[in-house]
């Protein structure tokens, strides 16, 4: 029998993989991929809570839709920034983005 706990732990695992990708990767595009994984994990959690704790309502679904909207906006602006910086610096490695260091 699959319970709420299975879904929550799967979501937690996916979130931690995404966090690892966002922290440990050198390429800016790979960091964006890690963030997408984290947002997906959050959506799994929202829908699982909605299904098991309050199945007659759609509050979790609405929140998941807003998370998807913000994720789409974030990845579009993030990639535009990466492409713009690439035009200037000819690199997408995050360690080379060091304008703010003195």
């Amino acid at each position: 029998m699959i319970t709420l706990y299975h879904y929550l732990i799967l979501g937690g695992f996916l979130f931690c993989i995404g966090l690892y990708g966002a922290l440990a990767k050198r390429s800016a595009v790979a960091v964006l991929m890690g963030i997408e994984l984290m947002l997906n994990a959050v959506n799994i959690n929202l829908l699982a809570f909605n299904r098991f704790l309050n199945p007659g309502d759609v509050t979790g679904h609405v929140f998941a839709i807003f998370v998807i909207v913000v994720a789409a906006a974030e990845v579009a602006v993030g990639l535009a920034l990466v492409i713009n910086i690439y035009r200037d610096r000819m690199t997408t490695q995050l360690d080379d983005f060091d304008w703010l260091k003195w």
Partner: protein, 166 residues
């Protein structure tokens, strides 16, 4: 019983392909495994009886966002594509932090006492979602529309660069 087997199958696909996204050294392969992860998560939504969200997940994530990321890769990568997705020098610290966070989340989930409801799930979620979006959540809905417009204009302006249009 069948749903148990399907859940574990989908869970293994999601966890395996998510690990591949992070661990592979070719960023194009990472992007392709990201699509597999998104499709698996969409299957999980079907199991949670969220039919509309499953369709949105396939369209927006597996369709649009994955293609956008592949575009980003194609427009920027230089040098050998086989080593385009390497780890930085915080590899081990990040691993310890992520593993610690996972153990903490797992402890909290397993020690919490959740009030499971036995009501049946909704037959179809499309109508109730439409009602909720246009009544209780109409202001966040409009704000999300403005956010998407601003993000689109901002992305076009940023990606176009400094040069004068021809």
């Amino acid at each position: 019983m069948t749903s148990t087997i399907i859940f574990w199958l989908i869970a293994i696909i999601i966890m395996g392909s998510a690990l591949m996204v992070v661990l592979l050294r070719n960023i194009v392969h990472s992007a392709l495994f990201l699509v597999v992860t998104f499709v698996g998560v969409s299957g999980l939504y079907v199991m949670l009886q969220a039919d509309f969200l499953a369709a949105v997940q396939l369209l927006v994530y597996a369709g649009a966002i994955a293609i956008l990321l592949v575009f980003g890769v194609m427009l920027t990568v230089r040098g050998d594509i086989k080593y385009s997705n390497l780890f930085n020098r915080h590899k081990f610290t990040a691993g310890v932090v992520s593993l610690g966070l996972f153990l903490l989340i797992e402890r909290i989930i397993l020690s919490s006492d959740l009030l499971i409801s036995n009501k049946p799930a909704l037959e179809s979620t499309v109508g109730p979602i439409a009602d909720a979006l246009l009544t209780d959540y109409v202001i966040p809905f409009e704000a999300a529309a403005i956010l998407l417009l601003v993000a689109m204009v901002g992305a076009i302006l940023l990606a176009r660069g400094e040069g004068k249009p021809q």
